[in-house]
Symmetry: C2
Subunit: 258 residues, 2 copies
């Protein structure tokens, strides 16, 4: 076989699996860890190799999503930085992408237009979770950053699906939601918890059947195994983990039965 | 400038930072999340971008480290798979590597011989933690997988530094350490905790000043904020996170003052 050489496989080729998940994280870092924890917890695994293989960018030096949303003329867009992380994950072999940050989904169209693999939308994953819980309409409470709420990231698709979303009143945003999110970003989840509980109760009092925790810092700052929270809240981070697991399990099934 | 074209930066170049940490994880997945959590908790951060940028491989389809250690003739080496993950992280721009799995450090020499960036050894990080706690000699208890204990991964360097390591008796390995590790690998940390507490108490009863939790599943299965555990145990995962943070802070300082 003169003239032919064995080409050494690239690092990506050596690891390539059809169920390799890429996580565009770091927005913030604790929300990324919360996503990974929930993915592990949801996976029926006896041994290490049963878990979904994951590659993660948790490189939080990304321009502020809320600032770019509210004041795009005076603040850099996060799009270039997020796209560079996406391209790194694709180059490393990711076959599906998730992004555990709700606000960043404003740039979802720009991130998926030229993306060669599935990219699971956190709001679609949340809608699937609502259906699993047999909540098919009615009033939903919605907690999130000011940008997520103002832009209708959840509200618009949920309205199309027949839900009515209510948001915290301004005073509750200032006194409960915002301080809670800031505490989680400083890794102080213990102090954040009562802030978030007050915001959830406020929305239940106003008629919400359940409250969507539409900022990934919020479920990261709440004990989601607590019965009151599990019953009254919907966790988009867990819903995204479930959707990612479903994707990986489907890929594995298709391979097995083909 | 005819004939010259702006070359589009690669995804790695667009994200390149001198403090970008690469994590060779997935051994097991929960230990990786434990490492990331501890790195975040140790970092003095007010906002997302203050955190250390991290890229992670948590691709647990790696041949068993203990089986390859005890029976190398009949089991595949994990080296090729770990090296492919290392190369992916290097290609994505990692400027320093860590591997939150003790047993995998048997292949440390092979992984670092041709590695162009620092690769922090988990046992060296643990020794630094012992010095920080002013434990400079005497008897240390050591919990780990059978492979970590049999191969002297901690024992040899610690003996050279003047420590005496004692290990759990066989019965305690079978009845406490092994079942606890297996429970964590199935994400059942609540049930694992009493097993690990019994193993720690056993070593304290036999004269250990502190007990090194030398398998990353063990601290992942214990509440390290518990005062009794914090006082009586040394956590190599937390020590590795501290060493990684020290590295990143030094890189940042050197840049600032150059």
């Amino acid at each position: 076989m003169a003239g032919r050489e064995m080409k050494k496989p690239t690092a990506a080729e050596a690891r390539l699996r059809p169920d390799l998940l890429g996580v565009i994280g770091g927005m913030g870092p604790l929300a990324t860890v919360d996503f990974l924890s929930k993915l592990i917890a949801l996976t029926p695994a006896e041994k290490d190799p049963d878990h979904v293989p994951v590659i993660v960018s948790s490189e939080p030096q990304i321009p502020s999503r809320p600032r770019a949303y509210f004041d795009p003329d005076d603040n850099p867009s996060p799009l270039h930085a997020i796209r560079a992380r996406r391209d790194m994950l694709l180059g490393a072999g990711a076959q599906c992408l998730v992004m555990p940050c709700n606000t960043a989904h404003y740039w979802y169209e720009e991130l998926t237009g030229d993306c060669p693999v599935p990219f699971i939308h956190i709001v679609e994953a949340t809608q699937a979770e609502l259906r699993r819980r047999n909540i098919n309409g009615g009033v939903l409470g919605l907690i999130g950053t000011e940008a997520t709420l103002a832009g209708g990231l959840f509200e618009r698709p949920l309205a199309e699906a027949g839900y009515i979303c209510i948001q915290p009143e301004d005073g509750v945003m200032q006194a409960s939601v915002r301080p809670g999110i800031d505490l989680v970003k400083r890794h102080n989840t213990a102090d954040a918890e009562p802030y978030f509980r007050r915001a959830v109760q406020h929305l239940l009092d106003r008629g919400a059947a359940v409250v969507i925790l539409g900022c990934t810092e919020v479920p990261a700052g709440l004990p989601m195994t607590d019965q009151w929270i599990a019953e009254n809240c919907v966790d988009p981070t867990a819903a995204l983990a479930k959707a990612a697991l479903d994707w990986a399990e489907k890929v594995r099934r298709d391979l097995t039965f083909d």
